[in-house]
């Protein structure tokens, strides 16, 4: 009898759960990115000086505003897990989609690895003697596996947690900003002494361009909001709101962060330290502010790693669902409604990279995959508008000034590639070769398993010209 009841109540079909709202989208996007204010952006000062870091903050802000606007328009129409992967599949084609999914998985997995390493490094810097490699790796393992388990357990709890810890980490920046009396230069802050006409741009404009590589870190990952597309209650409303609100939050946060840090430390140190905001807290002389920034650094890194696990798993899951990878990866947990096999599959990969890679390498691989991805987006939106002009399909959001954001995005991506080439040319070449090899594998081997008609799922009219 119990068996009969159990069989009768067993689900015949399972899918991801639509439980998220705009606040969760904000928590996912800002959560992934905010760690960039706590570390990473400041290496731009090493390349070009403190003023260069500010110029890059706003110029790269322009790049990401374009990304957020373009992404909001396309994703409010192509509301599917996989985000830009699903966009590329429908708008450009399967080979582009396969590459975009790989960019996503690499960018987020490497970012997750970077965050776990950052948390271990931060704790190590306070732990003192007796903190051996066993302990260091214990922190990394604890972070990656605990967050993977949270993601495994359900998306609502995962992003509720992300909302709280992201908000706390963001508030810490605001509290620090007001604690140093920004209205009264000379009391705590000394911007005029730290940034002078002689040291503002120590390497000239080539230093500014070289700094673009690290400037990406101010906002890297905001486009990750689209991975939640299949789990939000109203994609057409929540995704544009959450993404644009996230971008505004980050622009404010990045500017405040630069102002406080640039006013407290010389560019040589700012470009060298791994913890600009934590050091800013220390330099105020207040133990309370120092400990607050210590905790906030860890919370920001946790929020980022948490969001990255969510996004990488969705991209991997989507590849399985379209048979670009074995369908085994497309399983959804009947109780928790999460892509549990994809989440679990990526855990040992993240752990392996976290144990063998250093922070600089992991960040660079993440940035490279991100910039490749943004370059695709500039082409994607032009094709989208050409194939399905305004009025031909329903859009949740229509971005203004088209094609200006696409042109700005493309130009800034080219400049950033040049900047990466200046500092990490070998890694850039290796990464591009990797994607070419994977493309050949997909084209000549894997694509035979794809059910070609089934992969295009949007009920759109035929594109113009077809």
């Amino acid at each position: 009898m119990a068996n009969t009841a159990s069989a009768a109540s067993a689900p015949q079909k399972v899918s991801l759960s639509r439980v998220l709202g705009p606040a969760h989208v904000w928590a996912l996007g800002v959560g992934i990115v905010l760690v960039g204010e706590y570390t990473g952006w400041n290496f731009a000062a090493d390349k070009g000086g403190t003023l260069a870091a500010l110029i890059i903050c706003w110029t790269i802000g322009l790049l990401y505003t374009s990304v957020a606007m373009i992404d909001s328009e396309v994703t409010s129409t192509v509301a599917a897990a996989g985000g830009q992967y699903a966009q590329a599949k429908h708008i450009v084609g399967p080979l582009m989609a396969f590459n975009v999914a790989l960019y996503l998985v690499f960018a987020y997995t490497m970012l997750e690895v970077s965050n776990a390493i950052l948390i271990a490094d931060t704790i190590k810097s306070y732990a003192g003697e007796g903190f051996e490699s066993w302990h260091y790796e214990g922190i990394i393992a604890g972070v990656i596996v605990t967050l993977a388990a949270l993601n495994y357990r359900g998306v609502l709890m995962t992003l509720n947690v992300n909302f709280v810890i992201t908000a706390v980490a963001y508030l810490a920046i605001i509290v620090l900003f007001f604690s140093v009396q920004p209205w009264s230069q000379g009391t705590v802050l000394r911007l005029g002494e730290m940034v002078t006409p002689d040291n503002a741009l120590p390497y000239g404009w080539i230093g500014v361009i070289a700094g673009f590589h690290w400037g990406i870190w101010y906002y890297l990952g905001i486009e990750g909001t689209t991975q939640a597309a299949e789990e939000v209650r109203s994609p057409a409303r929540s995704l544009p709101y959450g993404t644009m609100a996230g971008m505004i939050t980050l622009l404010v946060g990045a500017s405040l962060t630069w102002y406080v840090c640039a006013s407290l430390m010389p560019w040589q140190y700012l470009g060298y330290t791994y913890y600009p905001l934590l050091d800013a807290g220390k330099l105020t002389g207040s133990k309370t502010l120092e400990y607050m920034m210590f905790i906030a650094t860890i919370l920001a890194a946790l929020a980022s790693a948490n969001g990255c696990i969510n996004d990488a798993a969705r991209a991997w899951f989507s590849l399985g669902r379209d048979r670009y990878l074995p369908t085994w990866f497309s399983a959804v947990h009947p109780k928790y409604r999460t892509p549990y096999r994809s989440i679990l599959f990526l855990v040992p990969i993240a752990l392996a990279f976290a144990f063998i890679a250093n922070l600089g390498q992991a960040i660079t691989f993440s940035i490279l995959s991100g910039v490749l991805h943004y370059t695709f987006m500039s082409v994607n939106i032009v094709m989208f508008r050409n194939k399905w002009p305004l009025g031909s399909i329903r859009r949740g959001y229509t971005h203004p000034f088209h094609p200006l954001p696409a042109i700005v995005l493309f130009i800034l991506c080219v400049v950033t590639f040049f900047a990466i080439f200046l500092g990490y040319g070998a890694q850039l070449t290796a990464m591009v070769v990797f994607y070419i090899v994977m493309s050949l594998w997909f084209h000549f081997y894997r694509y035979r398993y794809v059910r070609r008609g089934e992969q295009f799922t949007m009920p759109w009219p035929k594109p113009r010209g077809y």
Binding site: S15, A80, H135, T146, A148, A331, P334, V347, T457
Partner: protein, 53 residues
């Protein structure tokens, strides 16, 4: 304190990993592969978006 936290990190990750592996095994043996992989992209759009403007 930090070394204790790090040791706890190993213990917690071992417990959670074992829980996930156990749950994975239990789920895979309870439900058929067809049910587990039955999610399809675009199902909601097919119902709610008609694209008649």
């Amino acid at each position: 304190m930090w070394t204790t936290l790090a040791n706890a990190g190993w213990a917690i990750s071992a417990v959670l990993l074992l829980w996930m592996l156990y749950d994975w095994f239990r789920t895979d043996s309870t439900y058929s592969e067809d049910v587990l992989t039955s999610s399809r992209e675009g199902e909601i759009e097919a119902v709610s978006e008609k694209h008649k403007i």
